[in-house]
């Protein structure tokens, strides 16, 4: 009427979500735990994107980090140790309308769930996976994890971890169909937020490894890179992470990296002296499994009946004179 498109009318039912709307239980993580920062960054993302809580599912495994869904006022699935990814894939396969997030620890994803991690990359389903990597098993009280530095004393390695740690970035970048790989630290919240946001907007499986301090069991494990800011190599690009000027004042080792360059990404990932921070790799052209396997027909009684009749005909015997 009067040339006003009805689409432009204000929808009064629509709610503007505040940070509080995404908060469920009060976190029971230890004071100083890096998981709190990841929670805040994630809630900020949902608020900024104004995502309906009921359209969001957080899936987790087992461990400190996996309590994450309990603190989000959305749908949540706190599952089994290592199994978060295949559960999340099942959630997503027939629910393109749901935003799926997966939160795992380093033991969860890189050890007991390692097979699922590799294959999740290959399926490339549209979801965001965050690994809270504190280099240790926390909830079970300090056992060496796949990313524990060699020499670190734990309850299972009282004379120091005996193996070289696994490099999850190198591993991830080696899997075919990989489409988004980022590395961040929880103690630079602006970068953490920016990367989670880019991951959310990426169509495909967004893998974010987040270095996260455990105040109880690995409070000093990241000291070398915290004390020497230049050991963090901040990767920036128009298609990658955006770095505020204030941060550049502290972290001076900034490089422009085009996330479409997988060879360069692998080179940065392999460097153990300087830790890459930002989006290492991104390729939107990789097909997603949820798209590839999208149903071509609805699963309605009439369609089912039609398919069944065809099958019954194929295997059927008719009465004579029929």
């Amino acid at each position: 009427m009067f040339g006003v498109s009805i689409d432009n009318l204000l929808n009064l039912d629509q709610k503007y979500y505040q940070m509080d709307d995404y908060q469920s239980d009060i976190p029971r993580w230890c004071p100083g735990c890096g998981d709190n920062g990841i929670l805040t960054a994630t809630q900020r993302l949902l608020r900024e994107e104004q995502i309906a809580p009921e359209k969001t599912v957080f899936v987790s495994g087992i461990g400190c980090s996996s309590r994450f869904p309990h603190y989000m006022n959305t749908y949540g699935f706190h599952s089994l140790h290592g199994r978060a990814l295949p559960i999340a894939e099942g959630v997503k396969i027939r629910r393109p309308d749901l935003h799926v997030f997966v939160n795992m620890g380093d033991g969860d994803c890189f050890s007991i769930g390692a097979a699922h991690w590799i294959h999740a990359l290959r399926y490339n389903m549209n979801m965001v996976a965050m690994v809270h990597d504190n280099n240790i098993y926390g909830l079970t009280k300090k056992q060496a994890s796949p990313t524990t530095p060699k020499g670190l004393k734990s309850n299972t390695t009282p004379r120091g971890a005996v193996l070289e740690p696994l490099n999850p970035l190198v591993t991830t970048l080696a899997v075919s169909n990989v489409s988004f790989v980022a590395n961040v630290v929880e103690w630079i919240p602006d970068l953490l937020f920016d990367v989670i946001k880019k991951a959310f907007h990426h169509k495909g499986f967004s893998f974010i490894r987040i270095l996260q301090r455990c105040p109880h069991f690995t409070p000093h494990v990241f000291d070398p890179i915290m004390n020497e800011p230049d050991r963090l190599r901040l990767l920036t690009h128009d298609d990658g992470m955006v770095i505020p000027d204030a941060i550049k004042k502290i972290y001076k080792n900034v490089e422009t990296h085009d996330p479409s360059n997988i060879h360069k990404a692998r080179e940065y990932a392999s460097d153990t002296e300087t830790i890459p921070i930002g989006i290492l790799f991104r390729d939107e052209s990789v097909p997603t499994y949820d798209d590839i396997r999208k149903p071509t027909k609805p699963n309605t009684p009439s369609v089912i009946n039609e398919a069944l009749q065809r099958e019954f005909d194929k295997f059927g015997i008719k009465p004579k004179n029929d």
Binding site: L80, R83, G90
Partner: protein
């Protein structure tokens, strides 16, 4: 009595084309090296016979390897087809006719007691004059043995005749055999031709034409050279039927149930159900996901179920062992799930291609802590179809994992059954996406039934967290003393509530007497056939077949108590009580016997073995006679 005549094989009897002998039923086997197509020929023969109105049951004889060494008795690949005028419910006893592509494959069947005394053996003769003298000697040795045992051996130039039509006899001899059998059993050749066109429909006319020629060649050769022919008459078919094996029936049942996600990982003998579904499920809006491992397959199904319609995962025993932690999660978090276990021989990787019913106890008790689930077992091919519809309904109504135990016998056995008539109520309704009324909580357990309504992601106002940890009614992790007690109590109550809906199973035969045989799953046909025969001999034996194993219907205890002796008949392990070390205090019973003893306090005995073969009615009959002699 003495005879000077040495036994002789018949090389080429002259065809007489007398009137066929009318018989009630016959068991036919075709055995070959792997890859020679015995199963294709046998399945086609079974289908043609079913289309003519015969009762049939087919069982595949499968080696564990893809192509085991040729000409070995352990590597034999083949099929058994039992045909009858009436319905056939099991694989029967010993074979009447066996067609063998080489004498070693044949020997494997003969040595394991699968041939009737005096059975007709139709044997490929190319080995007789083979250039390799080791083969010649082996052939001669076996032949001597067969003749001494009194078999009716007919040597036939199958390869020679096949080579007249195709270059590679490995890809053609089977259709020549199908032609021969079509003559021997007076099959309708038009149906046989139709069947060949159907079997090779994907390969095109180039493959269909020579196979049709081979069929005719086999038929004519038999007509011109054999002096016997049979006819198994049947009443004409009065209603539409379908002929499938159990795994195809499971696939069709999954489609019919309205489930839309099937997640699996390859494992014998379950995979053919997923193969079938992979081909056709998308036509019904469904999908098969091949996961990276068994755990992921189960997790994927649970994720899909949690966010939508109930999903299914298909596996066999070793796969179910891997899925146990996820079954525990589904039980704890009350997420509907259907798991199909096509059982094979165990323990460990055991006998991948052979039949066993060894997973009953592990299906019921496989997770740590108390994890109630429903366990049911189809007993016929038709039952495989309907069980999937039932399983989906139970899973969704009770928010519980439902385990369907099939086995290798049902998986590859073919049987005709009435064409199902589609009902809309089979199909899962669309999942609820309406706003959840304020105050609704995710585990709002009903005090009496333990039931609560499932909230599905996407529903406004329903936000909650699922966890495998002990949780309160609102889904919060809680370790308080009363919380876990209440959760376990309510989840267990659902089993009792479901049990109230079950009908008492009917006794096959009189409801009281001397001996009751109790079975479950695929052994039904063999047990009931044995009971029929025993009763004809005047023995007072009945049988009871259980479809629901967890929970069991009410009234079973009363039935057991009306018989002097109760024996379970199962294909799984139990101690032989006659061994020196075995006493009543240490004897380990077969799966169902343990359960019946514990539940009903009845002194139930076990008759079971783990030979990896379907039970023969004759073995059950013999045991029945023996046990009744002990009683009276």
């Amino acid at each position: 009595m003495h005879t000077t005549e040495t036994p002789q094989s018949k090389t080429a009897p002259t065809g007489q084309n007398a009137k066929p002998t009318v018989i009630d039923e016959h068991i036919i086997e075709i055995v070959s090296d792997s890859g020679e197509g015995a199963q294709t020929a046998g399945q086609a023969f079974g289908t043609i016979s079913a289309r003519m109105g015969n009762g049939i049951w087919t069982v595949e004889i499968i080696p564990a390897e893809i192509e085991p060494p040729p000409r070995t008795s352990s590597g034999a690949s083949g099929i058994r087809i039992r045909l009858g005028s009436n319905q056939i419910t099991n694989m029967g006893n010993e074979a009447d006719i066996i067609v063998a592509f080489n004498e070693q494959a044949l020997l494997g069947r003969e040595e394991t007691g699968n041939l009737k005394k005096g059975a007709t053996i139709i044997l490929e003769n190319r080995w007789k004059d083979h250039t390799n003298n080791v083969i010649r000697e082996q052939y001669a040795e076996v032949m001597e043995h067969l003749l001494a045992e009194g078999y009716n051996v007919i040597e036939i130039p199958m390869e020679e005749e096949t080579l007249k039509i195709v270059k590679n006899p490995r890809r053609g001899k089977n259709m020549f055999v199908l032609g021969m059998l079509s003559y021997i059993y007076s099959r309708d050749m038009e149906l046989a031709r139709e069947q060949i066109r159907f079997a090779f429909r994907k390969k095109g006319e180039k493959v269909i034409a020579p196979n049709l020629q081979l069929l005719e060649a086999g038929y004519n050769w038999a007509k011109n050279n054999l002096d016997f022919q049979y006819e198994i008459t049947s009443p004409p078919i009065s209603k539409p039927m379908v002929v499938t094996n159990g795994n195809v029936a499971i696939g069709m049942g999954i489609m019919a149930s309205g489930m839309e996600v099937c997640a699996m990982y390859p494992i014998t003998p379950a995979t053919s159900a997923s193969h079938y579904l992979s081909e056709v499920f998308e036509n019904a809006g469904g999908m098969v996901h091949q996961a990276e491992d068994e755990l992921a397959a189960c997790a994927f199904a649970i994720g899909a179920s949690y966010a939508g319609k109930c999903a299914v995962t298909i596996t066999s025993g070793p796969g179910m062992a891997l899925k146990t932690e996820l079954l525990g999660l589904a039980s704890m978090a009350e997420i509907p799930l259907v798991l199909v276990d096509v059982q094979r021989g165990g323990p460990s990787t055991g006998l991948p291609t052979k039949v066993e019913q060894g997973d009953l106890l592990s299906a019921m008790f496989n997770s740590p802590g108390d994890n109630p689930k429903v366990v049911l077992a189809p007993s016929t091919i038709e039952d495989c179809f309907y069980s999937m519809i039932t399983a989906r309904k139970i899973a969704e109504t009770f928010r519980i994992p439902v385990l369907v135990l099939s086995d290798a016998n049902l998986a590859t056995g073919q049987q005709p059954y009435p064409r199902p008539e589609f009902k809309e109520e089979w199909v899962a309704p669309p999942y609820d996406q309406n706003p959840v009324p304020e105050g609704t909580i995710p585990y709002d357990w009903d005090e009496k039934t333990g039931l609560s309504k499932r909230i599905i992601p996407g529903q406004p106002g329903g936000l909650f967290r699922v966890t495998g940890l002990a949780h309160t009614r609102d889904g919060h992790v809680a370790y308080g003393a009363g919380v876990n007690q209440e959760g376990c109590d309510k989840r267990s109550l659902k089993i009792a509530t479901f049990q109230k809906t079950l009908k008492t199973p009917r006794v096959y035969g009189p409801e009281e007497g001397d001996l009751l045989l109790v079975g479950w799953g695929s052994t039904r046909g063999a047990i009931e056939e044995a009971v029929d025969k025993a009763r004809k001999e005047g023995l007072t034996v009945s049988s009871l077949h259980l479809k629901f194993l967890m929970p069991m219907a009410s009234g079973i205890g009363e039935i057991l108590k009306k018989f002097k002796k109760v024996i379970t008949v199962e294909i799984n392990f139990s101690d032989n009580p006659e061994r020196e070390m075995i006493t009543e205090e240490n004897r380990r019973y077969s799966n169902l016997a343990w359960l019946l003893r514990a539940r009903y306090l009845v002194d139930v005995d076990s008759f079971s073995n783990v030979h990896g073969q379907p039970l023969k009615p004759s073995a059950i009959l013999e045991m029945t006679r023996r046990e009744l002699k002990k009683l009276n």
